[in-house]
């Protein structure tokens, strides 16, 4: 495996788990599929439709998101919103993320870089 490819694989793996957290946080303000992709992209978390769209459905099935069709605009869009359970999970994951970052910083001799 090429070094670039290897680095890419590991970075992708590290980011994978954060997409759920990013969606739950972003959708505290209701949003639709493609709009969410743009929001995540603007926040520096790039992800693909084929990852995010099925993820939204799964999170809804688990009661972490709720959805509603909006037919006011040019074409109907399905809007998702983070539920109370989703918010609680997001808070938990965010705290874990902070702990992990702190732990990694300690392992790295107290610095970020």
């Amino acid at each position: 495996m090429q070094m670039d490819e290897l680095i890419g694989t590991h970075r992708q793996e590290l980011r994978r788990g954060t997409v759920v957290l990013a969606c739950l946080l972003a959708l505290r303000t209701p949003g639709y599929g493609y709009g969410l992709l743009k929001t995540l992209d603007a926040a520096g978390i790039s992800s693909d439709g084929n990852t995010v769209y099925p993820l939204l459905r799964r999170l809804e099935e688990r009661g972490l998101l709720e959805s509603e069709w909006n037919t006011d605009e040019s074409h109907p869009r399905k809007f998702y919103r983070t539920t109370r359970a989703g918010s609680e999970l997001a808070a938990q994951l965010l705290a874990d993320m902070a702990d992990l970052t702190a732990s990694l910083r300690t392992l790295n001799g107290g610095t970020d870089r």
Binding site: Y32, G33, Y34, G35, D48, G49, N50, T51, Y53, P54, R57, R58, W69, H75, P76, R77, K78
Partner: protein
């Protein structure tokens, strides 16, 4: 021609269960439209934009699998270890049995021995394919069918828990002095038995010697078989020196076993092992006959015993692989 989007939607939604399909279609259509519109607004040609968006979404079958949560593999990591253990073992048990039965049926229905051997071999091949296929289908069913979910959980929990006791016993791979001496004694007894049988004979009415073995066997094959047996004894000494079976030693052992068994089987089935005159003299003419029960028993017995004896060192060589010189060293201290 229908648009790329319509074709994409049809391909992606095909495997989505009915109750979810309509809603999913509406949402996917809207997501695709949003992405296309943005590109068009930025000045891109509509067809080019549509193409880029759909290709960005990727293989519709993958997308559908992500929606349904269905596996994109035939046998998953949960069942695969069991599959790898189970199927080879099933084949090892069923195939030899089936081969023997098919060969026996051929003989019973009046076929020649070469026909029976051919029936056994072709039977073994087709049964191997059948067993592998149906066992695989069963595992794929367990993996995929929603109705098998409970059975899968039970099977995995019943067989899946790994404990230390499952580690292979390395001492079983070690070849002990006792074992090697036993093997060499067996070879010597076989040599003695052959020589003894070679000396057996009777006298006919005129008083001349009638040996048990056919003259052609005594002249050509008898010394050859003794040489093979001597080589076998040397091989067992080598195995003892190495301390375990290696693949190379197992191959050498297999070659010697075949060199010993094959002439016996062929001669027995040809009726050129036992001297016909001897059989006639002791009043049991069928003893020497090519299709008599005695020679068939010799051939089948030699095949079965030889086959198992050939297999054993390979199994032990595999088990010992990777245990390295440590095994030989611990033998000395043990």
């Amino acid at each position: 021609m229908t648009s790329w989007t319509e074709r994409y939607l049809a391909a992606a939604l095909r495997s989505i269960p009915d109750p979810k399909r309509a809603d999913l279609e509406r949402e996917l259509r809207s997501s695709i439209a949003d992405a296309v519109e943005e590109r068009v607004a930025a000045g891109e040609d509509r067809l080019v934009a549509e193409r880029a968006v759909l290709e960005g979404l990727g293989d519709p079958a993958q997308l559908a699998a992500a929606y349904t949560g269905r596996p994109t593999y035939l046998i998953g990591p949960e069942l695969f270890p069991l599959y790898r253990q189970f199927v080879p073992r099933l084949i090892a048990v069923v195939v030899p049995l089936a081969a023997v039965v098919m060969a026996a049926v051929k003989v019973a229905s009046g076929g020649s021995y070469s026909d029976a051997i051919a029936a056994g071999i072709s039977g073994a091949i087709s049964v191997t394919i059948q067993v592998a296929f149906w066992a695989t289908v069963t595992f794929v069913f367990l993996e995929w069918a929603d109705s098998a979910r409970k059975a899968r959980t039970e099977i995995v929990s019943a067989t899946g828990r790994w404990t230390l006791e499952r580690l292979p016993d390395l001492s079983a791979a070690r070849v002990t002095a006792k074992e090697s001496v036993g093997e060499i004694i067996t070879v010597l007894i076989t040599i003695g038995g052959l020589v003894f049988l070679g000396s057996l004979g009777t006298t006919d009415t005129s008083g001349s010697e009638v040996p048990l073995f056919a003259p052609a066997f005594t002249d050509v094959w008898f010394p050859a078989l003794l040489a093979v047996l001597a080589a076998m004894a040397v091989l067992h000494v080598m195995v003892f020196i190495v301390g375990r079976w290696t693949m190379a030693l197992a191959v050498g052992h297999a070659a010697l076993r075949v060199a010993f068994a094959l002439p016996l089987i062929v001669l027995a089935l040809n009726g050129t092992l036992v001297n016909p005159a001897f059989a006639a003299q002791i009043g049991w003419p069928s003893l020497a006959e090519a299709d008599g029960p005695a020679m068939l028993a010799v051939a089948v017995g030699t095949t079965l015993v030889g086959g198992w004896e050939i297999l054993k060192p390979f199994l032990r060589a595999r088990r010992a692989r990777g245990s390295g010189p440590l095994v030989g060293a611990s033998r000395r201290s043990a």
